[in-house]
């Protein structure tokens, strides 16, 4: 674990990998819930960092952080939410070719994995989900689409994501869900927030 000052009111904590970042994020949320943290405006996990923004004494907190015992992430500490999916994306065949399996196998492998929302970004409610074994990482499309529909289930690099609304995008589209990923009038607004466990369940057609 390495901490870097970000201006005079924030701290970037860099971990060895995404799982360690997830473990620190979970511990920060536990301590915040029990009232053991100083006020922090934003706690933003990402690929292998956690940003703490709006801290009064970032240097002091960085030193405290080094003393923490941080439990490793346990799989399924909470029940995974189930997201119904139709594996009907236009890039399903391309992903099957990259994985060197059939399209049916892509569905089986993807729906068998348990995912964790590592972080959000790109758009409100867009989660970067990890959980696929490393050999299934895929490149982005060479040419991004100008419009990807809301609810598109997509892969890029090690991540799975679902587009909360129609937007341009370069990820490989493998399916579609009718689940509402983002609704500001709902509490919580985001279906997938960092730390949430997720399973994708194939819909019967």
């Amino acid at each position: 674990m390495r901490t870097m000052p970000v201006g005079d009111r924030a701290l970037l904590v860099e971990l060895a990998d995404g799982d360690e970042a997830g473990a620190l994020h979970a511990e920060l949320l536990r301590r915040r819930a029990s009232g053991a943290l100083p006020p922090i405006r934003e706690i933003v996990p990402a690929a292998r960092t956690v940003l703490l923004d709006g801290l009064d004494r970032p240097g002091h907190f960085a030193r405290e952080l080094m003393e923490w015992e941080i439990p490793a992430l346990h799989a399924s500490v909470q029940d995974a939410i189930e997201v119904p999916v139709r594996y009907d994306g236009p890039d399903l065949a391309d992903v099957a070719a990259l994985w060197q399996v059939t399209a049916e196998e892509v569905v089986r492998i993807h729906s068998a994995a348990e995912f964790r929302v590592a972080f959000c970004g790109f758009a409100p409610g867009f989660g970067y989900l990890t959980g696929l074994p490393q050999q299934y990482a895929v490149p982005r499309r060479a040419t991004p689409r100008t419009s990807v529909p809301a609810g598109a289930l997509a892969l890029a690099g090690p991540y799975t994501g679902v587009y909360p609304r129609s937007s341009p995008g370069g990820w490989q589209l493998i399916g579609t869900t009718d689940a509402v990923l983002w609704d500001p009038a709902r509490e919580p607004a985001a279906l997938l927030s960092p730390g949430t466990r997720v399973r994708f369940v194939p819909e019967r057609r």
């Binding site: 201006g7 790109f122 970067y128």
Partner: protein, 287 residues
């Protein structure tokens, strides 16, 4: 004409509704948003007796014109600009009573970029995640003003705040931004921090509410690796592949993959919001 609302007669280049923004949701990919010049937004609210969190209008370069359907107290500050009611000049930086049905016109900024317009009771569009701010990156909050649109106003505040004199800003000769290096200054050549702090940069016309773009010498990276996405703060000086620093403003993305060489002191960002294209920028390192 007694309903509490105003009609947009001339929306201007870009006029948005802004308040103090929606901090606290960055982990969901929601930008903080809010007025780019918060002291100016607070000032106009104070002039009409509103609380600081009331929503105001933020104009861009050429003002806007609206027609309130009810008598309302307004105040304009931020970028100095000519203000008129039914064609008669009225004071900038002071509370002004606008009769129902009169035309309130905020002209082009004399200097600076963004004028702020407060109405007694505030602009009362529906809040999203606790804020009425228009977020141009992710599309949250009300759409930018359009000619013919009608926006609701809140109930008039109980009393008027008394402010004797509003300091009138002088035209900025240059934009001075205090910076602290990091967190990713080690991604750049040893010469890059010196280049940033000793070179003449200028505000680029491609600047917007997401970032203040600059033109000047490019900052060279020490390696061509790819930085995994990480959280971004307001004021981050991010360096895209073209090497020209971008200072993140209120609608900045919450995560990003270009390295941040330094962070601008938040107290200098209001001035950044008022720096027109072509204004020279000086980055001054502090410890």
């Amino acid at each position: 004409m007694t309903d509490r609302a105003f009609a947009v007669v001339r929306a201007g280049a870009l006029t948005t509704v802004q308040d103090l923004g929606r901090p606290g949701h960055a982990h969901l990919g929601v930008p903080r948003s809010g007025a780019l010049d918060p002291p100016a937004a607070r000032l106009v609210n104070r002039l009409v007796g509103n609380p600081p969190e009331a929503a105001v209008l933020e104009t861009t370069l050429n003002g806007c014109a609206v027609r309130p359907r009810c008598a309302v107290t307004v105040a304009v500050a931020g970028a100095p600009s000519p203000v008129s009611v039914d064609g008669r000049p009225v004071a900038w930086g002071s509370p002004v009573r606008v009769p129902a049905g009169a035309l309130l016109d905020i002209g082009p900024a004399v200097f600076g970029v963004r004028s702020y317009v407060a109405f007694g009771g505030g602009v009362a569009v529906e809040p999203v995640l606790g804020s009425r701010s228009t977020d141009l990156l992710s599309g949250l909050g009300p759409a930018p003003l359009a000619d013919g649109a009608v926006l609701p106003l809140g109930g008039a505040p109980a009393g008027h705040a008394r402010v004797d004199a509003v300091p009138h800003p002088a035209p900025p000769a240059e934009l001075v931004l205090r910076v602290r290096f990091g967190p990713r200054h080690d991604w750049f050549t040893d010469a890059a921090p010196t280049t940033l702090s000793r070179s003449a940069y200028r505000v680029s016309s491609a600047s917007n509410r997401i970032g203040l773009r600059t033109e000047g010498p490019s900052l060279e990276r020490a390696s061509n690796g790819e930085l995994p996405s990480e959280g971004m703060v307001l004021g981050a000086v991010q360096v895209p592949p073209d090497g020209c620093p971008v200072v993140f403003l209120a609608d900045h993305p919450t995560t990003g993959g270009y390295p941040v060489i330094a962070v601008v002191d938040e107290r200098d960002l209001a001035a950044a919001a008022q720096a027109a294209p072509g204004i020279p920028i000086r980055f001054v390192p502090v410890r």
